[in-house]
């Protein structure tokens, strides 16, 4: 079970794609849903939103940046090796409906999550304007795939090595000023989602964000993933992972994501020694 059948390195090896055998999940998964993965018996359970599924082949695809102990372990696994556990599909699927003109904003590995949602929004008949951002051109992923499912594609890089020199929010402001947009979907680093939501709130455009807080079980059991949305506590695993971007308390989310920072360092040190 959970054998890696395909592996790709992206963004100079900092981002890895795994296509994993998980037939029960593959026939069920819908855009926006996530899985929990565990590399080995002593590993931690890590939530990742699926980048793709192939129900016929019985596989799911995840794309992750190597940032800590668990993603390092994931990244070290070769084709043919198996994950110890993959659980899903978890969370609510994206509500895909024809709205008219929509904007999909992606940053970093958030682009991987954004891809199936963008494709879905396109398939139901929306005109899709996509804005992708990354630190530089080498770290940008899935540009071609996103181009295929978008009517218009904008690229932004922090260093100007490709496309617009600056942030996704610069382009977004432009688009919102010129076009009649009915929905914005933003998936990426927390600050990106926060600033996108601030801008769309000014123009009162419905905005969806996908959150990835710390979780253990992913089924509503632990409450570790709680986020404040419109003053109410929600569990990202079962109430989300997508929420109204205008209502999310991003500062609380950022802080909670740092909960285990000292332990993460300790864990990584041990990992490197081995």
């Amino acid at each position: 079970m959970f054998k890696i059948v395909h592996r790709e390195e992206m963004a100079q090896g900092t981002i890895v794609l795994n296509e994993i055998e998980a037939p029960r999940i593959a026939v069920k998964a819908k855009p926006g849903q996530f899985v929990i993965l565990q590399a080995n018996e002593t590993g931690e359970r890590i939530p990742l939103t699926m980048a793709d599924v192939d129900p016929e082949k019985g596989t799911i695809t995840i794309i992750y940046m190597i940032v800590g102990k668990s993603t390092t372990l994931f990244g070290q696994m070769a084709v043919g090796q198996e994950y110890y556990a993959v659980i899903g599909p978890l969370g609510k699927a994206t509500h895909l409906e024809k709205k008219g003109k929509v904007v999909c904003v992606g940053g970093g590995t958030g682009i991987a999550v954004l891809h199936p949602i963008t494709r879905g929004l396109k398939e139901v008949g929306n005109e899709v304007i996509t804005i992708l951002g990354s630190r530089n051109k080498d770290l940008l992923i899935l540009e071609d795939k996103m181009a295929k499912v978008s009517d218009t594609l904008h690229i932004c890089t922090d260093d100007g090595s490709k496309g617009h020199h600056g942030f996704v929010t610069d382009i977004l402001k432009d688009v919102l000023a010129k076009e009649d947009i009915s929905l914005v979907v933003a998936i990426g680093p927390v600050p990106m989602m926060k600033f996108v939501s601030m801008i769309t709130k000014e123009s009162n455009v419905e905005t969806l964000v996908s959150l990835n807080p710390i979780m253990v079980d992913g089924t509503g059991m632990c409450g570790g993933c709680r986020v404040s949305v419109g003053g109410e506590t929600k569990f990202a695993c079962v109430d989300g992972p997508e929420f109204d971007g205008h209502k999310v308390d991003y500062d609380e989310l950022s802080k909670r994501l740092q909960a285990y920072q000292p332990e993460e360092k300790l864990s990584m040190n041990g990992c490197r020694c081995k």
């Binding site: 029960r24 556990a85 659980i87 253990v216 409450g223 300790l266």
Partner: protein, 470 residues
């Protein structure tokens, strides 16, 4: 006969050898050490072998208690385990976590004048002996019936159903959401109260009998109850527990350092965070820990915090000592280990620092008023009694609700207003044909043995259905 009776009355109840409190409160090894064969035989000799044993009536799964104790008295320890297994798939677990004082031992005739026979200790002894010696005789499996049963959830009720129905010749598959089998026995109850290799060994026994286990399967999302029927299952048992933590909805509850007991215990037990960094999952280690609530889960959380190295651990409870719902033994063990009880006290809000980390909480003192619906005296706040208590870790242990993942995906299963599945109290039958339910998903949070009792009744009813019809 008369002669032996006289002798029996003279033998005092055996004392369970335990790790000393000041040693055990810093390790995760089991607290009670178990009886020696000599101690067990002597204790077994205290049993009167009643013709109409009240203890059996007090047992939710009707274990033949005089029968297994008699085997121990005779020195046939493996035989004693065989008698236990006739009625109980998990004797090594029950011998450790059952509230015997209100069940079998609470009804023991010896206990009327003396202390009751230590039935729990003896059950544990026989089960441990059989496991360690490998002398256990597995129950006989009836000829295959060709019927397929799906058991959803591998906690105590699911394991009981699986054990009962495999022996009756049905084909049984357990679906477990986590990567490990055992439900609350592995994620909830700590290692020092129930070593996980014991749960593993009880599960292995079921597998030897032919039970199949599919881990990483969340019924309700990975697959649905209806899909189980489509896959050819003839009957489904739902024992998914009470897996949705309650919070108190107080300001500051989302600060880093405030955890549900579910998260705190799951990280520590299932994910083995007490062995971090050998295991990758961390758990917050508080210096000044507060546990809110006073049930068994609260005691488990408090004792875990102490073992993880806390300087001080407080149980903060809004009622008084008499209303604390935890088992007497758990309260006793917690106190021995240096857990402080702060009674008639309720938190009103949590304080954090600039990084969103918990630094303290505001409490209000309470007094007891008139009895409420539960029959317990209602705690009433004393006005103006607010004070600040410093703490860097709070474990909220005020109960759990029904998890809606399975029931949302099974619209034709009847629920009560709290989201618990409605099941016939005698048979466990739900409103959906071919589906039974039991344990915490039906009753709300209760005990391991009550869940097992519900599993036993459901298994009987399922067997009838599979052989005779609905």
């Amino acid at each position: 006969m008369a002669e032996t009776k006289v002798k029996k009355e003279k033998t005092p109840r055996v004392k369970m050898p335990e790790q000393a409190p000041d040693v055990r409160n810093r390790n995760f090894k089991e607290v009670p050490l178990g009886l020696t064969p000599e101690m067990a035989q002597l204790e077994a000799s205290r049993c009167l072998q009643c013709k109409k044993p009240a203890c059996v009536e007090g047992c939710p799964v009707s274990v033949n208690i005089p029968g297994f104790i008699n085997k121990i008295a005779e020195g046939d320890f493996a035989g004693a385990a065989g008698v236990l297994w006739e009625k109980n798939a998990l004797p090594a677990v029950c011998g450790r976590v059952c509230p015997q004082e209100i069940q079998c031992e609470g009804r023991c005739i010896v206990g009327k004048k003396d202390k009751p026979v230590a039935i729990g200790y003896l059950e544990r002894f026989a089960a441990d002996y059989a496991r360690n010696s490998g002398e256990a005789t597995l129950p006989k499996v009836a000829p295959k019936t060709g019927k397929k049963v799906a058991v959803v959830g591998s906690g105590p009720s699911g394991l009981t159903v699986a054990g009962d129905l495999i022996v009756k010749g049905h084909d049984v598959t357990i679906f477990e959401a986590f990567h490990k089998t055992g439900g609350v026995l592995v994620y909830g109850i700590p290692e020092f109260r129930l070593p996980k290799d014991i749960v593993g060994s009880e599960v292995a026994t079921l597998e030897k009998l032919g039970v199949k286990i599919e881990t990483n399967s969340v019924v309700g999302t990975t697959l649905t109850v209806d899909e189980l029927f489509e896959e050819g299952y003839d009957a489904v048992y739902v024992g998914v527990g009470a897996g949705l933590p309650r919070f108190m909805n107080l300001p500051g509850e989302n600060l880093i350092g405030v955890f549900s007991a579910n998260e705190y215990l799951t990280r520590t037990n299932l994910m083995k965070a007490y062995l971090f960094p050998e295991y990758d999952t961390p758990v917050a280690k508080g210096k000044n820990v507060v546990v809110l609530g006073a049930g068994n889960v609260a005691m488990d959380s408090a004792r875990t915090a102490m073992r993880l190295g806390a300087d001080s651990v407080k149980i903060v409870y809004r009622r008084s000592r008499d209303e604390m719902p935890a088992r007497a033994e758990e309260l006793h063990h917690a106190e021995e280990e240096g857990i402080e009880f702060v009674l008639l006290t309720n938190p009103t809000r949590f304080f954090g620092d600039e990084n969103g980390r918990l630094v303290g909480m505001e409490c209000l003192k309470m007094e007891l008023g008139e009895p409420d619906a539960s029959g317990r005296r209602r705690p009433v706040p004393i006005e103006g009694s607010e004070y600040r208590m410093d703490c860097d870790l709070v474990v909220v242990s005020v109960g759990a609700k029904a998890n809606p993942l399975l029931t949302n995906a099974t619209p034709d299963i009847g629920l009560n207003p709290w989201g618990n599945i409605v099941a016939d109290p005698e048979t466990g039958k739900t409103t959906k044909k071919g589906v039974w339910a039991g344990g915490d998903i039906v009753t709300g949070m209760a005990t391991v043995i009550l869940a097992m009792g519900a599993g036993r009744e459901a298994a009987d009813s399922m067997h009838k259905y599979l052989t005779l019809g609905w």
